[in-house]
């Protein structure tokens, strides 16, 4: 059983903006880096925009709060980190606690409802907030929890015009580690499907 829901949708997502800042936050080992890389690659190589991807992470390979940030812009990008992110995806409670507070007031918060238990609903109402069981969906779509970040990319591509679904799939084809393209595409597709349901106003599957 998968629930996707929207706590609040503000009047309009800022489509066609000149610059977008996206932060994918979670734990080391959740595939955040690859997801950020593929999102940026889709924009930079397949859509000809400027893009910069950075990461902040704990010094261990797995566990520890970490984040992958992507800036996509029509102009040259100097400062490479997000200052007021447009989108924050949180894949763990620690990431939620640490990484969403500087989200723009009209930004989008995507919460992995299968891993984040406590969210501040008073805060959530300031943003366009989606509760999506990213990890559970990843498990169902690919059998691998670490593709949750890829499901999140699908949700982003389905809900916004930051990158096209075609560019994202093309980036996966050319850049995903050998032998993982199909799995990653399945995860992204699961995210796109969830986004379509959210757009149609279906909140329960």
């Amino acid at each position: 059983m998968c629930f996707v829901s929207q706590l609040r949708r503000r009047k309009g997502w800022r489509n066609m903006a000149e610059r977008y800042e996206i932060r994918l936050a979670g734990l080391g080992g959740q595939g955040l880096l690859l997801a950020g890389l593929l999102l940026a690659e889709a924009a930079a190589i397949h859509e000809g925009k400027h893009a910069v991807q950075t990461q902040s992470y704990a010094p261990y390979a797995r566990g520890g709060a970490s984040a992958s940030e992507v800036i996509i812009s029509d102009k040259e990008i100097d400062y490479p980190r997000a200052q007021r992110p447009d989108i924050v995806v949180v894949l763990s409670q620690e990431a939620y606690d640490k990484y969403f507070r500087d989200l723009r007031n009209d930004g989008m918060l995507i919460v992995d409802s299968s891993t984040v238990e406590h969210i501040d609903t008073s805060k959530a109402y300031f943003y366009e907030t989606y509760m999506v069981p990213l990890t559970e969906m990843a498990r169902q779509a690919t059998g691998r929890e670490m593709t949750a970040s890829m499901v999140a990319l699908g949700v982003i591509a389905g809900l916004t015009d930051i990158v096209s679904q075609e560019s994202l799939m093309a980036a996966i084809t050319t850049r995903a580690p050998k032998g993982t393209a199909d799995i990653n595409k399945r995860a992204v597709q699961a995210g796109i499907d969830a986004a379509n349901k959210l757009r149609e106003g279906v909140v329960e599957e």
């Binding site: 910069v52 950075t54 992470y57 100097d78 200052q83």
Partner: protein, 373 residues
């Protein structure tokens, strides 16, 4: 490997090393520089090169020095703690005039510090970390593209001037990814060291009658001594002041007489500037953002980006000092380059540091508030 790609700074550095003709890497992995060795461990053998993971950083630079004496363009890559261990051999390479490239990706220090956090705390270490007066060249990239370019340039300068060259990057530039179109082979200038043309019995590897004596490769029939002890023109130890002084003068002159070739800065919006930002590495990116934000508020701010940190860009800073009333030096340390700027400005303009040393990148907002003060 050409065409547009989306690469990490460390990947671009490895590509730059290969493009410059590097065929030897010895190193000991350390965050945030490890990807450079990892990539070269795969790529070097495919082009006939050698990769060795050594037991520590001391032996790493020693192996690089040996490989260079054998005629290969050689590099190592490390971060602050490993760079500390390399200081002895760095001095040896400077004294024995052995071309080599050391890529140092700075992380938060001192000591173990914070391996995955950025810093620019090793500027002075890169200049004076090894003991004794010695010449050194240090370059600082501020983008993925520049990390490629400056790695190529580091090899060219080291070959041209027979000197170790340090590429002083930081965690931000090393780990960030950007779009870069790698030049095709043949599109970039590559300089190879001068080899002796005289017969072996006439060869002096430390001949003081020329600025940069040609360097024979070991195993090519030229037998000579290499030592860190003060040496004569043949490379054997000497205590004669009349041999030591000319040697000392020459190893400095070969750098100081070619500052136009070595020292590289980029000026932006300096024509009408009343406030100048002097920045390098990741801080230069934040400074550029701050400059644009200030210009939108009609504040006349320009940027002087240092791509060569050592020798210090005295002529460029002198020019700035004559022009503006205020100079702001943003750095992710407690003001190492600011000291140099103050030395050159010598009171002709106000010099202010904007500093951050908490493991995070200096922000445009922090620099902008110093501009607006």
């Amino acid at each position: 490997m050409s065409g547009e790609r989306f690469l990490q700074g460390n990947e671009a550095c490895a590509e730059g090393a290969l493009a410059a003709g590097a065929r030897f890497f010895a190193g000991y992995p350390i965050t945030p520089s490890s990807e450079i060795g990892e990539i070269l461990s795969r790529r070097l053998p495919r082009v006939g090169g050698k990769f060795i993971q050594m037991e520590d950083e001391m032996s790493s630079l020693a192996a690089v020095i040996g490989a260079s004496l054998g005629g290969l363009k050689a590099l190592t890559a490390t971060s602050g703690p490993g760079f500390s261990l390399m200081q002895e051999n760095l001095g040896f390479a400077a004294a024995a005039e052995i071309p080599c490239v050391i890529v140092e990706v700075q992380r938060a220090g001192p000591s173990t510090g914070q391996p995955t956090s950025p810093s620019q705390g090793d500027v002075m270490q890169a200049r004076w970390g090894t003991h004794g007066d010695h010449p050194i060249i240090v370059l600082a990239p501020s983008s993925v593209r520049e990390f490629f370019n400056l790695t190529v340039r580091a090899f060219n300068l080291s070959e041209k001037y027979r000197t170790p060259v340090i590429v002083l990057a930081d965690e931000v530039i090393a780990h960030m990814r950007e779009k870069i179109a790698l030049p095709a082979p043949g599109e970039i200038e590559v300089f190879d060291r001068m080899k002796p043309t005289v017969p072996p019995e006439w060869y002096f590897p430390f001949d003081d009658t020329t600025e940069v004596p040609p360097l024979a490769s070991f195993g090519q029939g030229y037998r000579f001594n290499v030592t860190g002890v003060y040496h004569d023109k043949a490379g054997f130890p000497t205590m004669r002041p009349d041999e030591i002084e000319p040697w000392f003068e020459r190893i400095f002159a070969k750098i100081e007489h070619h500052l136009d070739d070595i020292v590289e800065v980029e000026r932006e919006m300096m024509e009408d500037a009343e406030i100048a930002l002097v920045a390098y590495g990741a801080s230069a990116r934040s400074a550029r953002s701050a400059m644009h934000a200030a210009r939108e508020k009609d504040l006349k701010v320009g940027l002087v980006k240092l791509k060569t940190l050592w020798p210090f860009a005295e002529a460029a800073i002198d020019r700035v000092a004559r022009k503006v009333g205020r100079i702001i030096v943003p750095e992710m340390n407690r003001g190492q380059v600011r000291l140099e700027v103050e030395r050159v400005v010598a009171g002709r303009a106000r010099v202010l540091g904007v500093n951050r040393y908490d493991g995070e990148i200096i922000s445009p907002a922090q620099i902008l508030s110093a501009i607006e003060e």
